[in-house]
Amino acid sequence: MVSKRLLIGILSLFFIAGCGGSSQKESGKPTITIWHWMTDRKASFEELAKKYQEKTGIKVDFQLYAPSDVYSQKVRAAAQGQNLPDIFGILGEKRDFSSFIKAGHVLELTPYMQENNSSWKNFFFPKALEVNEFAQGNSYSVAPGIYGVPIDIMTIQMVYNKGLLKKLGLNPNRPPDTFQDLIEIGKRITDPQIQGFVSGWSELWMIDCFANNYAFNIMGKDKVLATIRGEVPYTDPDWIKVLTLFKDMADSEIITKSVITMVNKTAEQLFATDKAVFAFNGSWCVNVYQGMNPNLNYGVMLPPKASEAYPMAIWGGAGSSFIVNARSRNKEEAVKFLKWFSDRDQQAYLSEATNNLPANKNCLSQIPEVLAQFSKGMDFATHPTVWGVSEFSTVIEAFDKGIQSIILGEKTPLQVAQEVQKVKERELSRKR
């Protein structure tokens, strides 16, 4: 009898607690929940959340889910269950972003951005905003507009170790200007403990990024996009030239075969510990190198051009963006928070605390020298998410794996080009 009463009592307590509503209602203010994967920014985000609560009384709950693969799957699962948080980020290609929009998970921010003579929109570097934007007549069939708020920007460039350049008898302040110069430097390296060029090329996207830079340099944007549209084959001589660059790098031994089993963290360690002359890395590396070796003496450079035909292009734009859940009950509060979050003071704080490039163009004057060098690359920045067309993922995979095979000396550039074109034709015929 006593235990029955106890059970009823406990159940009643649960019932009352369940009917009582969440703490947000008790205080009359909602709690904004944000999901992110950025482990390096956890403390800074929480600090800003505290400031926002002091200012407005609204609690912001930053929830970290890492690593990024896990985060990505969590967001997709939540999208299926329609239980996404108020604010979240999307990792993936523009095609994935468009799927989220078409499924009704993303609030269009254009009206908010355009309020008061576009005062909010004017916070940002246009290229940072472009990543979150869908233009009129885009190939994804998404209504034109802005769908996300960039919180930082990034550029992926090359870094060079000044001390090692000096050891090789070169001017430490004059990195190679042409691809041929880079190859020649590779030939000078005789110390087996020193790597010429390192990067996390076991991750296919990093190879893709490097190859795309040179594709833009050798054949220009229009021809690259025409290839993606299926109007130019991958067997075109310009694409063969792009693929041959990797063969040249392998032949000159500026890269070793191990570069394709290397994760980027290893590449970062090698560069930070003065064991590599060059690295191909994103602007996030400033924070990483700072943590690994605060005395590292290095500079930032564009990948040295292989052709004079077109300017060198690098991947850049919004590093990470936040998106407002269109189904959230707190969407208006979420938009207000993001507006505050992307304002100058908060962006300057984030940049200083995390060594990331701010998306807000008004606080660039407050960033360290190396970061400023990375930010200069924004003039040359492009990104697949702003091209308006996407290559088939199977084609990208065949292309990147083909490059790995070229580095291993298993296939020639022509063989790889033919194989990639075969995959492309198969995908195009399937689409038709």
Binding site: D69, R95, T256, S258, T261, L270, S393
Partner: protein, 298 residues
């Protein structure tokens, strides 16, 4: 009364059936169904495009990287079935005898399997890699005057898969060892004593007593080895960072790549179903083989 008793029985079974259905049967049906759709994992399922058998056809006829992954996994499995299990069996035989410190060996041999695969991968990467490791193996080979045997164990495409297979065997032999040891201990000692009285030597006893009685255990270890090895992938990520231009790709890595990198969830489900079916068939063949062998003996 009888109806009440039947209902009671069903009532007791219901929670287990429910849990099994919710966590096994329903997800399996979903995955199976998704194999017939083109779905990116983001749009609502109702908007996924039905493609019939197209995904399965692509796996069978147009996806060489899938079959390369299958070949790689089969090669690792072959090494595990032979080298790893032979090692496990030999060590189990040794520990089944009255040797000194046999309990110590039992513990030591069981340490690798309880370690996390990613840890094993990274530790071995440190041991054998040139660039970000100490490459102790090559150093040792140089010191003992065998420089011709020093290699880039992980970045040479001809060696990478074998290196993966050996490390996998090192990590996995402990399971086989334990099961073999348990099997050996169930063989009545009187049989050996009787054989000895009849003049049988060690080899004869092994051939006529140990081996025949261990066949069911060997089949069990074989099935577990095939299932475990074909599905290995974490160790590969730890050792070589991924597919290494296809040289170390295995089916699970391909499935992951399709889901994560290409957002082709439907195709990944079709791959998962095909892969599962292949594993079931292999296990069934192994089981039938052992059963027939036993029947022949009777």
């Amino acid at each position: 009364m009888r109806i009440k008793s039947t209902l009671e029985n069903y009532l007791f079974v219901t929670p287990a059936v429910l849990i099994f259905s919710i966590f096994y049967i329903i997800p399996f049906i979903f995955v199976f169904r998704l194999g017939f759709y083109d779905w990116d994992g983001i749009v609502p399922l109702k908007d996924a495009v039905f493609v019939g058998l197209a995904n399965f056809k692509e796996i069978l006829f147009h996806d060489p990287s899938w079959w390369q992954a299958m070949r790689n996994a089969s090669w690792i499995t072959l090494i595990a079935l032979t080298f790893q299990n032979a090692l496990a069996f030999l060590l189990a035989l040794a520990c089944d005898r009255e040797i000194r410190m046999k309990n110590f060996y039992r513990v030591v041999f069981f340490i690798p399997p309880v370690l996390s695969e990613i840890v094993v991968g990274m530790v071995w990467r440190f041991i054998i890699n040139d660039i970000d490791g100490a490459n102790m193996i090559n150093r040792l080979l140089l010191q003992i005057g065998l420089p011709q045997l020093a290699h880039s164990w992980l970045s040479d495409p001809k060696l990478a898969l074998n290196t993966v297979a050996i490390v996998h065997s090192w990590k996995g032999f402990g399971w086989g060892f334990l099961i073999f040891l348990a099997g050996l201990q169930t063989i009545p000692r009187e049989l050996y004593e009787a054989a000895r009285v009849d003049g049988a030597g060690a080899w004869h006893s092994f051939r006529k007593i140990t081996f025949p009685m261990m066949v069911p255990v060997m089949v069990l270890v074989g099935i577990l080895t095939v299932l475990g090895t074909m599905q290995a992938f974490v160790l590969i990520i730890g050792l070589v960072g991924g597919e290494f231009a296809g040289h170390t790709s295995v089916p699970v890595l391909r499935i992951l790549a399709c889901m994560r990198d290409s957002s082709r969830f439907g195709y990944a489900c079709a791959q998962g179903i095909s892969f599962g079916a292949i594993l079931v068939i292999i296990s069934f063949i192994q089981y039938r083989f052992s059963k027939e062998r036993q029947l022949k003996k009777i």
